[in-house]
Symmetry: C2
Subunit: 226 residues, 2 copies
């Protein structure tokens, strides 16, 4: 029973990886760098993109917006004149809790790949399943809000392990919280030793310049910067 | 293809409901009221339980703690002398993103059902899949932190619809946020008109007495209070 389940899961992930590679080929053909942006609900992914994407030095960004329902985030980004495509996951179930390679593939015809250099795929807010499904990205970035507590790396280890950069957001609230940054760093190093991290307040703009530099380097070198 | 997928999902949910009813029968046999507690990661479920459960008037509580990995929350509750059983979901996949009826069933032999009146099942932090799987509960409560923003009911409608009570947590941070409570209420009423809501700070204790009263009434009447 357990073995059957594991087999089914492996088949699903194998099929996903095959489609992810096809996406990858299409992105390469258009010379587009792709970032898979993940976090818990409400960690501030969209606000981060609103702040970081306009005026990227020499890089034309675009966004694929994944949500269970609605187009709130896409509307916010469109207001900033960022090309954005909405992808809703509420077709089956009560909504898929993550994007997979096939969902991203279905959105490819709607993406202006010829007119952008960097595609940010904003995943569904969830700290579990998005980490399990590659979608054809060059790099994975996760946003962890200090309001969520310093124990999250221990409770959702795969998510914190499956990324090249951890953006610690909402640091403007630190003085009002019991959040212990040393403890967070310790837990993070426990599951992903030495992973690159940036302290940011998407709301005030603190730390955004560092994120922008990272995005520009990612795009121009097409690989996660050291 | 789409129809096959829907069929498979329906079969999965049917099987889950059958097991949920068996759980329900076992809980009834022991006269235990069961609450399914759900939220996004880091919304404050465990802190809420730490504050609300000790000293409940005439009600002996117990907790079934669902996590992908680790036993941090269970340890915190055990420190408060609350009977707690840990259930980890990291067996298949990189971790299941929700509890289902069968996982709860597997934990039944470890639960002190003869010695408690109220069992709180703390689900995995996730705003999508936990709402889809009944586990044999009397009532479902979700915790929404004001730090997550006022748009969450629109983005995760099933979760906000599938509960009898919405606890709006971390209100001690309201003065430091751009959160608009009227907008949140409006969005919440849009997906679940008139659902009972309570404003709480689990950290400062504000509003906890109201939560306790609700829990006591739920347990003594075995149904969600009006």
């Amino acid at each position: 029973m357990h073995r059957t389940k594991v087999r089914v899961v492996e088949d699903v992930l194998d099929a996903n990886n095959t489609i992810a590679r096809a996406n990858r080929d299409d992105f390469d053909r258009h010379d587009v760098t792709v970032l898979n942006l993940m976090s818990a609900p409400g960690a501030g992914k969209t606000t981060l993109l609103e702040k970081a994407l306009p005026g990227l030095e020499g890089v034309r960004p675009g966004v694929l917006e994944g949500d269970v329902a609605g187009s709130l985030d896409a509307d916010r980004l469109a207001d900033k004149h960022i090309p954005v495509t909405q992808l809703n996951t509420d077709q089956g179930f009560g909504g898929e809790c993550h994007l997979d390679a096939n969902m991203v593939r279905s959105a490819l015809p709607s993406l202006p790949l010829a007119d952008i250099d960097l595609l940010v795929i904003e995943n569904v807010g969830n700290l579990v399943c998005p980490a399990e499904f590659r979608v054809g990205e060059d790099a994975r970035v996760m946003v962890s809000s200090v309001t969520e507590g310093e124990d999250k790396p221990l409770k959702y280890p795969l998510m914190f392990r499956a990324c090249e950069l951890v953006i610690v957001n909402k640091i403007d609230l630190l003085e009002h919280l019991d959040f212990d940054m040393e403890k967070f760093d310790y837990h993070l190093d426990g599951v992903h030793p030495g992973v690159r991290r940036m302290l940011v307040s998407a709301r005030t703009g603190e730390g955004i310049e560092e994120v922008r530099d990272w995005l520009v380097r990612l795009t121009t070198r097409a690989g996660a910067p050291a």
